[in-house]
């Protein structure tokens, strides 16, 4: 295990550094060296990801529930920095839980690596993208396998750093520079705030147990203040995952990425916080699970799903829309996780079915992690192909790609059905499992009336929110596919066909989506194995090639819960739909002009746009204004202060603003303009922008008051500092 992991890491490291080095040492016009650097790096990344897949499958198959493979191995024995402090040794463990996430990284990584051969061809920044991509993969692998909190945080930081380099891509390749800078800044600020928040939550645990080793911590009894630790760790991880009050950064940052790695970041990196939640909350590091944790996570999940899917619906840019959809799917995953937390409270331990329902919810969550990884990669890679062939990702400039780019369009449609959670594709299976887990947990409140009044509203909020999200996602993809893929080709026309590497990968991913939708039993044993390190046994779900069967044992006052997802009707659906189409000889239907109400209009002139189709949903929101009129500029000393200016430009206060004075630059987008007269406000961003401008104004005011240039004030500050130091010393000694 360790050998393979070492080889994988070495390959990724060499590939990453190699690509960056060839960029640094090759002349700008030396095309050959650049190309070979890129290709070498991508080949190394592909080999490494195949190694990861092999490693993950070996771990999942070899030790389904066995304890032997869960043992951590020390790979970098570092001594203690000082006596009395915990050891900083890097130990890794690839238990089945980690292996599932390695499998996800490996599968998506391999697909993106092969796809990039075609996608990066001729790109002036290809070395940088390929190199940072390899290092980014390495950082994610480190986060997943690290068994020490110290190295986990290092890994998170590396992950931020490598993906942050990729975020600069759009600005560096001729895109809007200001948006690129905002994105990088936002990304770093959010990631570091999240990291700090996690650190604050973890510190009491480390201090009270004197170790950084996660496998030791998970059996050590948890935090001295579980509620405190839970809140801060959840806050930090929710920020990184883009959960609703913090969803603002994902659509700001992610679209700046090159589209091939955008797939990786959306499909895989957003799952890393989910993985850490599993480790911290269910792995026992924070302490015994409380049911209210689940309520918090469940409500956040519902809120995330419904808010972000709405903004996904109104976004006129494909990459931004998919970024919003990624967060929506994080919501669906979190719903499963929240249910698992809810059912894992030890006070429900006497009810036999609750533990089974918890395992079911967790399995649903992990299934959706895998599914979302596959179909979101697929969708992003299709968008990448559209972008490469047409030069745009703006929805209103695309049309009729089904005829100009048939491979991409077909794969995109498969991905659209999968993400809309419709049968017979994989998204349906995992959402079916999630909803069933929600239904099957009835014993919790039937046996414990005292907590029912809190749990029940949370479950209903989550259920209604998820249902709204499912239907709205379907509408959003009808809109996107209808506008960009179907009908008459128009707007930005595709130049040439996709390269073969891209076609192959899109086909492979579509096939995987179909396979996991039609034959869920293939993945279920591995996911069951992944639950074992978290001490869940999946006894309530039986997966056979013909059906998935759930049965939750009865408690005192409830009946047995059972549900079946038959697979045969789904197979029948696919087979007979194709058969019937063949029977109709659809390809031989005669072509005729479209009917436009008997007039002589050009049909494309009166075509319905995607925004018009979704108008019934967004129009009520476009009448809603959280504020009156345009944003008020921040004002200090009678002069406006632009947001985003962080310090004095040349020692004068306030800095010279020139033309920007009357229009303060807001870092986050506040409205999506859907027509010349209608726009939908991004309510969260409105508040964030106001917060930022308030903070900046207040800090100016404080700075002026504090740095007043009077020597007596500075003497006073020094005196206060000396007093403080003395006070601290007298207390600690």
């Amino acid at each position: 295990m360790i050998d393979l992991l070492g080889i994988v890491s070495l390959l990724l490291l060499l590939g990453g550094i190699g690509a960056h080095v060839t960029r640094a040492f090759s002349r700008a016009d030396d095309d050959g060296a650049m190309t070979w650097g890129t290709k070498g790096s991508l080949s190394a990344a592909f080999a490494a990801t195949i190694g990861l897949i092999v490693l993950a499958i070996r771990q999942l198959v070899a030790c389904g529930g066995g304890a032997g493979c869960n043992r951590p191995a020390v790979v970098l024995p570092l001594s203690r920095p000082a006596p009395g402090l915990p050891s900083l040794a890097l130990s890794v463990r690839v238990d089945p839980t980690a292996a599932i996430f390695l499998l996800l990284i490996g599968t998506c990584g391999a697909c993106v690596a092969v796809y990039s051969f075609g996608w990066l061809h001729g790109d002036p920044l290809r070395n940088r993208v390929a190199g940072s991509f390899s290092l980014f993969l390495l950082a994610m692998v480190l986060v997943v396998v690290a068994n020490s909190i110290f190295w986990l945080l290092i890994g998170l930081e590396l992950m931020t750093f490598c993906s942050g380099d990729l975020v600069r891509y759009r600005g560096a390749s001729g895109g809007p520079v200001e948006a690129s800078r905002t994105a990088v800044r936002t990304y770093l600020i959010v990631s570091h705030l999240a990291l700090m928040s996690v650190l604050v939550g973890v510190l009491p645990i480390i201090v009270s147990h004197h170790t950084l080793n996660m496998s030791v911590l998970s059996g050590a009894g948890g935090s001295p203040a579980p509620a405190f630790s839970f809140s801060f760790i959840l806050l930090g991880l929710a920020m990184r995952a883009g959960v609703t009050p913090f969803h603002f950064w994902v659509p700001t940052v992610h679209p700046q990425l090159p589209t091939n790695t955008h797939a990786m970041v959306s499909a895989v990196m957003l799952k890393i916080p989910i993985y850490l939640m599993l480790r911290f909350f269910l792995g026992g590091i924070v302490g015994p699970v409380q049911w209210w944790w689940g309520v918090v996570v469940l409500v956040l999940a519902g809120l995330t799903a419904v808010v972000t899917v709405f903004y996904a619906l109104v976004t006129p840019d494909l990459k931004v829309a998919l970024a919003y959809h990624s967060v929506e799917n994080v919501g669906i995953i979190l719903a499963g996780l929240g249910l698992a937390l809810l059912f894992s409270d030890s006070r429900f331990a006497n009810v036999p079915g609750v533990r089974v329902a918890a395992a079911l919810a967790l399995l649903a969550s992990l299934y959706h992690v895998m599914n979302h990884g596959l179909f979101k990669s697929l969708l992003f890679l299709c968008v990448g192909s559209v972008e490469r062939q047409t030069g745009t990702v703006e929805l209103h400039r695309l049309g009729g790609l089904c005829r100009t780019l048939p491979w991409t369009a077909f794969a995109f449609l498969i991905g659209a059905v999968a993400i809309a959670d419709l049968p017979p594709l994989n998204g349906f299976v995992s959402t079916w499992l999630t909803v069933q887990a929600l239904f099957s947990g009835q014993q919790v409140y039937l046996e414990h009336s005292s907590v029912a009044l809190v749990i029940l509203p949370a479950e209903i909020v989550a259920l209604v929110a998820l249902a709204l999200a499912f239907a709205t996602t379907a509408l959003a993809f009808v809109k996107i596919a209808g506008q960009a893929l179907l009908g008459e080709p128009r707007g930005a026309l595709a130049s040439g066909r996709e390269p073969w590497s891209m076609r192959t990968i899109m086909t492979v991913l579509s096939g995987l989506c179909l396979l996991l939708g039609l034959q869920p039993w293939l993945l279920v044993p591995w996911l069951t194995a992944a639950l074992a390190p978290l001490h869940y046994a999946m006894s309530g779900l039986v997966a056979t090639p013909t059906r998935l069967t759930i049965s939750i044992p009865a408690a005192q006052r409830t009946v047995q819960y059972h549900a079946t997802l038959p697979v045969l009707p789904l197979l029948l659906l696919v087979a007979s739909a194709f058969g019937l189409t063949a029977l109709l000889r659809a390809w031989r239907w005669k072509r005729r002009p479209v009917w436009v109400g008997g007039s002589t209009l050009d049909p494309s002139a009166i075509r319905y746009s995607g925004n018009a189709v979704s108008a019934l949903l967004w129009e009520p929101m476009s009448r809603l204004r959280p504020w009156r009129g345009p944003a008020e500029p921040a004002v200090m000393d009678g002069q406006p202060v632009p947001a985003g200016v962080t310090g004095p430009a040349d020692g004068t206060y306030p800095p010279d603003q020139g033309d920007q004075a009357d229009r303060p630059a807001m870092p986050f987008r506040e409205a999506w303009d859907l027509s010349p007269t209608r726009s939908v406000p991004e309510v969260a961003n409105y508040f964030y922008n106001r917060l930022i401008s308030r903070v900046i104004t207040a800090s100016y005011r404080f700075g002026r008051w504090f740095q007043n240039g009077d020597v007596r004030s500075y003497l006073l500050y020094m005196f206060v500092v000396v007093l403080l130091v003395l006070a601290v010393l007298s207390v600690t000694r």
Partner: protein
């Protein structure tokens, strides 16, 4: 032994075939009844089959701008709705795992998804116009349907359609659990929205600008149109059969005599007929609702369902102490 394993599946398959075959009749009957109620002679109920037969003999055409989606959609829509027949115990209930209510919701959604995509593909503005309305209704109907599934999951511990209501007892669920009848009322209203009946949509309208259900199939012709139309008829029949199944569950297959089977079949047709009559009277009495008014109406339906859910749970809590 093999016969014993095969028999239930055979019965399920036969019921599905019956459902596919009689579905045009229910649309024909409701049209005829409405015409009679309005004092017209109206087309004979079996006219639906003649129309279908005529359409099935005509080769379809396709708009110039259409792609593969347009060609594939009729088959997929028809198949999705036809598969619903496997889900529903119409005449007898076959014990053993059947189809799941969530899968049924998924199949309905899939058919709508594909049909609306095909409407876009046709390139005419009328298709997407109705597609937008359909999804607007769907966004509101989906929570209602899932909450309904939750109500049944809570009261019977399953979402398996054959086991959704206890069919062993002779007494209807409406009498043993009166609160279910409130849910059934809300369900009926949601089903009117789902199937595009009044007050949401006026079936048989000839004004493209107001179409909801028919608009997406506007560009289809010949056999393709026949499949789309037949799919719609199956959806209506399925919804009505679902309501009749919940209200008065049919007998179980095990230990059923031929006489009992005939009785059960006639019971099913009586239930379906009664619902068709009710639908015809309702549609004659109602006029079409404005699109804007659908939002509060459907929200009300969701609210009623949530109320039912709460009362189901509170009752269970109370019974347990």
């Amino acid at each position: 032994m093999i016969w014993a394993g095969l028999m239930p599946r055979l019965v399920v398959g036969l019921q599905a075939v019956l459902y596919i075959l009689i579905s045009p009749l229910s649309v024909g009957v409701v049209g005829w009844l409405k015409a009679r109620l309005q004092g017209r002679r109206g087309p004979y109920p079996l006219q639906a089959y003649r129309d279908l037969g005529k359409l099935l003999r005509i080769a379809p055409t396709r708009p110039e701008s259409s792609s593969g989606v347009y060609l594939f959609a009729p088959a997929l829509v028809f198949t999705s709705y036809a598969l619903l027949g496997l889900a529903l115990p119409t005449i007898v209930v076959v014990a053993g795992p059947g189809m799941d209510l969530l899968l049924v919701i998924g199949l309905l959604s899939l058919a709508r998804f594909v049909a609306t995509l095909a409407a876009f593909d046709a390139g005419s503005p009328f298709g997407p116009m109705s597609a937008g309305r359909q999804w607007f209704i769907q966004v509101l109907a989906e929570p209602a349907l899932l909450v309904l599934a939750y109500i049944f999951a809570l009261s019977d511990g399953t979402t398996d359609l054959p086991h959704l209501v206890p069919h062993s007892s002779a007494v209807s669920l409406l009498i043993t659990k009166p609160v279910i009848s409130i849910a059934l009322g809300a369900l009926l209203f949601v089903l009117l929205a789902e199937t595009g009946r009044l007050p949401f949509d006026r079936p048989g309208t000839h004004l493209e600008l107001t179409m909801i259900e028919e608009g997406v199939a506007l560009e289809y012709s010949g056999r393709a149109l026949a499949l789309m139309w037949w799919g719609y008829a199956m959806k209506l029949t399925f919804m009505l059969s679902l309501v009749s199944f919940i209200a008065v569950p049919p007998a179980s297959l095990s230990g059923l005599t031929p006489g009992g089977l005939a009785l059960s079949a006639s019971l099913y047709f009586a239930k379906l007929g009664a619902l068709l009559v009710a639908l015809a009277i309702w549609e004659t009495a109602r006029s079409k609702m404005r699109l804007r008014l659908m939002l509060p109406q459907l929200m009300l339906a969701i609210g009623v369902l949530l109320f039912t859910l709460a009362s189901v749970i509170l009752k269970d809590l109370q019974v347990g102490g």
